[in-house]
């Protein structure tokens, strides 16, 4: 408190007759004008926030500044990773139609990964030969995890479950990933349910936060 009082007395010597305070400026643009950074220990209570319109940026609080907590623009043009990212992966010469636990290189601790499209080409899934009647494999795409060098990564499984391809030809999977920054997503992990050979069921373990 003593420090603040001293600072304000000093600044008062720069004051004109208006009820405005300038720090490091003799021409304050508002009730308080700090020509420099402002560090706030606790809360900002802003009673006159208006709504953003037109071209605007979202704001973030940085953990990497000194001191910590600088309010910055979220400008995705200047960031390597946005909250939501997408890219396409083309996997050629796949063992027939099976991709199993292929490491995406994206760490689980940093990213949540979703497959938002997966098309199989260059070979054709056939009938399953091990069953006595004619059956086909179910199209399945899944994000799994794999541990490598002590870190856990997002991996992908892609297949027509056990179908193989005509003439055992190797195919191509083209998949689109949607990669979410972990800061935006709460990953609830895996939950199980059981419909006990009936067609209906009710969850008994839905997280409270989702109810």
């Amino acid at each position: 408190m003593k420090k603040i009082t001293t600072l304000l007395f000093v600044t008062c010597t720069c004051l004109g007759i208006s009820a405005q305070i300038g720090i490091n400026t003799t021409n304050p643009q508002g009730t308080l004008d700090v020509n420099g950074g402002t560090l706030i220990e606790s809360y900002v209570i802003d009673t006159v926030n208006s709504n953003a319109t037109g071209n605007y940026y979202l704001l973030t609080r940085s953990k990497d500044t000194t001191p910590v907590g600088k309010v910055k623009l979220l400008d995705i043009a200047l960031r390597n990773v946005a909250p939501v990212n997408t890219y396409t992966i083309i996997l050629k010469n796949v063992s027939q139609d099976d991709v199993l636990n292929l490491n995406t290189g994206l760490e689980k601790s940093k990213y949540v990964v979703a497959i938002t499209g997966a098309v199989f080409t260059d070979a054709t899934p056939g009938v399953i030969t091990s069953t006595s009647y004619k059956s086909f494999g179910a199209y399945s795409t899944e994000v799994t995890s794999i541990v490598n060098g002590g870190k856990t990564y997002n991996a992908v499984n892609l297949s027509f479950q056990g179908a193989g391809t005509t003439s055992a030809q190797n195919g191509t999977w083209s998949l689109t990933l949607c990669v979410y920054e972990k800061a935006l997503v709460k990953d609830w992990g895996t939950y199980t349910g059981n419909v006990n050979s009936s067609y209906i069921g009710v969850s008994t373990n839905t997280p409270i936060g989702l109810q």
Binding site: L8, A52, L59, P67, G69, V81, N85, Y87, I89
Partner: protein
């Protein structure tokens, strides 16, 4: 103690500017200008509700999707009817590719009356080829907008409301559940990754992640 609108209260350690009753350590009854703002302890995160903050004119403002022409997340169901047996090769959604990232969450192929009795004929030849096509439902960018593809590779949709489909039915419907993320939170100009798995299932291989990730 008052000083041209500056009030110091030594009893409770609070300073008010243009207010005699400061409610916080510093209470400015008016606008504040600063070159940068640091929040050492901005308080507990909101558990529910609250607003995201945004800035359009150098001030802290509220982000309110209801006042915007679009939200950060935009969820929409798109029903495309009059779809021929070959499915959809290119439907222009007219959603601006410079402003949004569009992904397909779910989809459903139906007859025009909403019935789900839709089968697939691989090779589109009316005979059993012992093969199945791959679902091919996704979004792609073309001429500045998002387009949709919805079909099964090398396959024809069949109406099997009768035991012996004649393959003539040509009026399907596709429901698509889309999410459009606003450009403010997306990155979509990431190069494709191509990898030759060398005839394996890739279980011992690692893809290169996009640069910067």
């Amino acid at each position: 103690m008052a000083f041209l609108g500056l009030f110091l209260n030594a009893q409770n350690g609070k300073v008010g500017i243009k207010t005699a009753n400061p409610t916080e350590t510093l209470d400015v009854n008016g606008s504040s200008y600063t070159n940068s703002l640091y929040l050492r302890n901005p308080g507990e995160p909101d558990k529910t509700g609250g607003h995201f903050l945004a800035t359009s004119s150098n001030s802290l403002q509220l982000y309110d999707p209801t006042l915007e022409s679009s939200g950060l997340f935009n969820y929409l169901k798109l029903t495309i009817s009059g779809v021929p047996a070959k499915g959809i090769t290119d439907y222009d959604t007219k959603i601006d590719a410079t402003k949004f990232l569009v992904v397909v969450h779910n989809y459903s192929f139906q007859l025009n009356d909403g019935s789900t009795e839709v089968a697939l004929d691989y090779g589109s030849n009316g005979i059993n080829d012992n093969k199945q096509g791959s679902p091919n439902v996704n979004t792609f960018k073309s001429n500045g907008t998002w387009h949709i593809r919805a079909n099964f590779t090398n396959s024809k949709l069949l109406d099997y409301t009768s035991a012996d489909p004649d393959g003539v039915y040509n009026n399907f419907k596709v429901d698509l559940y889309l999410m459009a993320y606003k450009y403010l939170i997306t990155k979509q100009n990431i190069n494709d990754t191509t990898k030759d798995l060398g005839g394996t299932n890739g279980s011992t291989q690692t893809l290169s992640k996009p640069s910067g990730f």
